[in-house]
Symmetry: C2
Subunit: 446 residues, 2 copies
């Protein structure tokens, strides 16, 4: 956070007095307290944590990183941990339990009441990256035959457990989702109105298997606070809240940034990432790209004679290859992002490729004009002609490859961000070299 | 949206019957209806729009793109447009009025009631990209001396106008923000409890000048539905809702994607972007990078003799330059994203540069080992030595440049994403060429 955000407490400095620390621990927002605890030594964090009230412990705990949660859990007596587990939101609890060892998990599950245990088992069955994995079972439920005043009483009882009570879901006798009611509708309605009469139809819902990116897109598109998740029989099994969807979307976006820059995806914080992990995530594409060079290197070797005769051709090699790669990266990145946000869909390909060709030709033409005088200056008229012509062609090729790859990968049901970056570079390189020296040989030996 | 999202209506196909279209118009979610209207010819859209009830028109209108809003506004009678304007959320209304001509805006403002006009004028005074520009003045307000039952009555009256009534803001007699109450606290509280007694302190707030990226980060960090905006005197002037913050964050992220791929930022949809705009946004850095080549070209020219003697050095030129650029792009992108999400802050630079040096050395070492046999195969032992050594050095240089540039730009109060991409490429190129031929000359003339 920067200086433009005003908070009622400031994080204590490293040499802060015990009074200041105590004040901060008592008055700070749970998120800020969790942040501060995360920066301390584990033993210190554990000591401070033990001084908190149960309510505050539960509030803070869910905001700690899973690693710290697990460490603190191990450092506290089992029944203290059990109390926190019961207080936690169902989705946060499930995430934590997945992070513990098999034995610790069994131990923790035993300490939970039956309902919480069933919930946790059900939630943890879903694959990572799906609606099922980020949904919570803490939602408020009403029956269609209830009167609004009874509904308000029911919500008063359910409120502390529901993650959001701003919208209650209306289920029929079989648990099937048939509508929803907003809290302020309940308040505005007459006391004896029946829920079935004031509820609204559900306009959007998803299945547990729906990808979290689609879930986040739907929540953003319809400005929802929560999105209901139903099973194949139409029974409500969970809701995904807007904040959890936003976290999932942030993680997916970070993954896209990593992928387009040829880094294998990882979810850890950059601040805490280890040497070993960074190395392993970055080396794969870097070293694979070396083998892509087998093609461009072979191309250059094939034209050795031309190079020896016109050595000034080499001056422009880096520029031509980079220009093709840059144009390709522009197109690829714009498309990866447009596909990720839903701005563009697979079917738009035909329309977009025509426009891309026009834009690429204009870019290539301009670049050719820019490079012509440089070519003339360094190598004379003929070299200028070769360099200009090559620039025109490779910018077009780079752009078309860059634009098409994300669509192709998406078509093959792969993430468009995967490999778009490195493949664009490699293909641009190979094509660039071949085009350059083929044009050179043709023009210069005329 | 994909097939994994279930909705109660499907968009009519192009040859759908009038009945199906009528059903869709009546039953679809305002967002979907707006989407469909946006795909029609303006005259068709205008005709369908005219058939909607006033309430539905107002719901749909805010979801149309600003260009279509303006076109529809021009096509309808002034008093019909005035009615929609009055119904719209204050922030949406302000955005639309900014999009009209000076004359149209004056005309529209005249048709608004005094309060709405003042609101609009106040909101439109703020700079784009700040909290002031995305906040709304439609918030629910309570006084600290009110009883909860009176508060609920007051909210019943205010509800249709407030963009969110899930949290009401408590102001003192001078309009200064002193606390807030959540709707379900009101419901849970005793009827005669006083607001001042049950309100919570405000834990986070911003100023109108606060950047929208900081606003969005704060909302995500504290899982807020809305963030209050106060003036220098502490008076509440607006709230930023979570959905508007999410839209702003999405736009900022798209801008980051554009910038790191050397595209000048633009906010238009990729699907609708014109040839002219795409060209103008992409040509700037592409052609500027040509001049960066003056350095690498000059470097190569300087070593012409070496090249003529050892032409196999040229085989590896694209590979070495690309590897340096790729390693740099990896580091730069990871840092740009980490700085944008707040994962890493300026002060972390010292710690991170040490780790980056270690990672880069390991990457460079591995890459050198990978390229050694290729070098030996194509050019013999000495060439292999030169290529391996160069690879080691340029991967380190590329990584360090890539990592440092976003910090440097951030330090200079520029957006870290700006220029990181193109500058990394250009610097890697220049340094790569110089290092390569300097090492070659040193090793091969021994």
């Amino acid at each position: 956070m920067t200086e433009h955000i005003f908070k009622n407490t400031a994080q204590p400095s490293k040499d802060a007095s015990n009074e200041i620390i105590a004040l901060f621990i008592a008055a700070s927002h749970p998120v800020d307290l969790a942040d501060w605890l995360g920066q301390l030594l584990r033993s210190e964090a554990s000591n401070h944590f033990a001084t908190l009230s149960l309510r505050r412990r539960a509030e803070v705990f869910g905001h700690l990183s899973l690693g710290i949660q697990a460490d603190l859990a191990r450092a506290m007596p089992p029944d203290a941990f059990a109390q926190i587990l019961i207080e936690m939101d169902a989705d946060d609890r499930t995430d934590l339990l997945k992070h513990l060892t098999q034995e610790e998990r069994q131990q923790a599950l035993k300490s939970l009441p039956q309902k919480a245990r069933d919930d946790t088992n059900r939630l943890s069955a879903h694959r990572e990256g799906t609606a099922g994995a980020i949904m919570t079972s803490d939602f408020a439920v009403l029956s269609p035959t209830m009167k609004t005043m009874d509904a308000i009483v029911a919500l008063r009882c359910a409120a502390p457990d529901a993650e959001t009570i701003y919208r209650s879901y209306v289920l029929d006798a079989d648990g099937r989702l048939i509508g929803s009611v907003r809290l302020h509708q309940l308040i505005l309605a007459a006391d004896d109105a029946v829920i079935g009469g004031i509820m609204q139809p559900i306009s959007v819902m998803v299945m547990p298997e729906t990808g979290q990116e689609d879930v986040a897109k739907a929540i953003a598109r319809y400005d929802l606070l929560a999105l209901p998740v139903v099973d194949a029989a139409g029974r409500l099994v969970g809701i995904v809240t807007h904040d959890d969807a936003a976290d999932a979307l942030k993680a997916e976006t970070t993954e896209d940034f990593q992928k387009i820059s040829t880094v294998l995806p990882f979810t850890q914080s950059m601040r805490d990432a280890s040497f070993r992990m960074l190395y392993s995530k970055r080396i794969f594409w870097l070293s694979l790209l070396v083998f892509g060079n087998l093609f461009s290197g072979a191309g250059i070797a094939y034209y050795e004679e031309t190079i020896l005769t016109y050595v000034s051709l080499v001056f422009f090699l880096p520029l031509l290859i980079d220009s093709s790669g840059n144009a390709g990266a522009q197109s690829a990145t714009l498309m990866v992002r447009a596909l990720a946000t839903g701005d563009v869909v697979l079917q738009d390909w035909r329309d977009l490729i025509v426009r891309e060709l026009a834009v690429a030709a204009a870019l290539g033409g301009t670049m050719a004009l820019v490079v012509l005088p440089l070519g003339a200056l360094r190598g004379g008229t003929e070299i200028a002609l070769v360099v200009g012509l090559t620039m025109f062609v490779v910018v077009i090729v780079g752009s078309l490859v860059g634009m098409s790859l994300p669509f192709l990968l998406s078509r093959l049901r792969l993430d468009p961000a995967t490999a778009s970056g490195p493949l664009v570079t490699t293909i641009s390189d190979g094509v660039g070299v071949m085009v350059y020296f083929a044009i050179a040989t043709a023009v210069l030996t005329l």
